[in-house]
């Protein structure tokens, strides 16, 4: 799981163009949206693209993304369970 989390952080920074943010700055349980990384609705859709391209996981309903993308932790758990 830890390995997956490290990889995920790098991928999120790359996919979402999070300049000036280092992987170490992202706390596993911090919310990705709202206060945390302050991601927005386009970022949420981009994370769906990330899941499909990097992990072969298709999210058909973007509404589901809200739970999956709550934090790095929840995202990693979802990937582990669905890969």
């Amino acid at each position: 799981m830890d390995e997956l989390i490290v990889k995920l952080k790098g991928q999120i920074i790359e996919y979402l163009n999070l300049e000036d943010i280092n992987a170490e700055d992202i706390v596993n349980t911090d919310p990705l949206f709202g206060d945390g990384l302050a991601l927005d609705s386009i970022d949420a859709l981009e994370l769906i693209v990330l899941l499909e391209q990097e992990y072969g996981i298709v999210v058909a309903d973007p509404e589901k993304g809200k739970e999956i993308f709550e934090s790095i932790q929840t995202l990693a758990e979802y990937i582990s369970a669905n890969k």
Binding site: L16, N17, L18, E19, D20, I42, D43, L45, E46, Q53
Partner: protein, 201 residues
């Protein structure tokens, strides 16, 4: 009252001038000139890095005008009109999106920039400006439509002042000509010849 050109700035490849005076020059081999200008302006706006080059350039241009003419912030949030023109628009984003489409894997964050008017949206968001705005497609030296409409906005009092932007960012080309246009007694009248003259300074 006349419609006059006030503060203006130009970005031509790596050279930045404000009111005709050099403000910044990026190294010729600088791969990320827009980021260098962002740093020079001491901005802190993470959203900047998500933008396409066209939007980045537009947002930076407005910061340059504000820096040299703080009075812009005296206007209320819907008194400033944004009247822009571009020749190639968002062709860079178009090409990136098409590449993704060919791979059957479109990216929402690229697709959204395949509308050239997004640059105006980004400027509006950054500055919390709710006023009139429009994007025309025109060759860099063909400013007649843009000027005519801008004048009508001021003459009909729909906008108290306007920011005129002539903008292009694609391949290795980064070109911006931007000016604050206001209604005042004295100054350089807004017309094609005067615009050309100040921007060539």
């Amino acid at each position: 009252m006349n419609v006059n050109i006030s503060t203006y700035c130009t970005v031509s490849n790596h050279l930045v001038k404000v009111n005709g005076t050099e403000y910044f020059e990026g190294a010729p081999d600088e791969p990320n000139f827009l980021k260098a200008l962002y740093q020079k302006l001491e901005m802190s706006y993470p959203k900047f890095f998500k933008m396409d080059d066209l939007s980045k350039l537009g947002v930076l241009g407005v910061e340059l005008l504000k820096l040299h003419n703080p009075e812009i912030s005296n206007y209320s949030d819907d008194e400033i009109g944004l009247v822009f023109q571009t020749s190639k628009g968002c062709i860079s984003s178009d090409l990136s999106h098409q590449e993704k489409v060919n791979k059957k894997s479109p990216s929402p964050s690229i697709f959204v920039y395949t509308l050239a008017n997004i640059v105006i949206g980004e400027i509006s968001i950054k500055n919390k400006w709710f006023g009139e705005s429009i994007l025309f497609i025109a060759e860099e030296n063909d400013t007649s439509s843009t000027i005519n409409y801008l004048k009508s906005l001021i003459l009909t009092n729909k906008s108290k002042c306007c920011i005129l932007g002539i903008i292009d960012a694609y391949d290795n080309k980064t070109e911006l000509k931007m000016a604050l246009i206001t209604k005042q007694e004295l100054g350089i009248a807004l017309n094609e010849q005067n615009l050309k003259a100040i921007f060539e300074k």
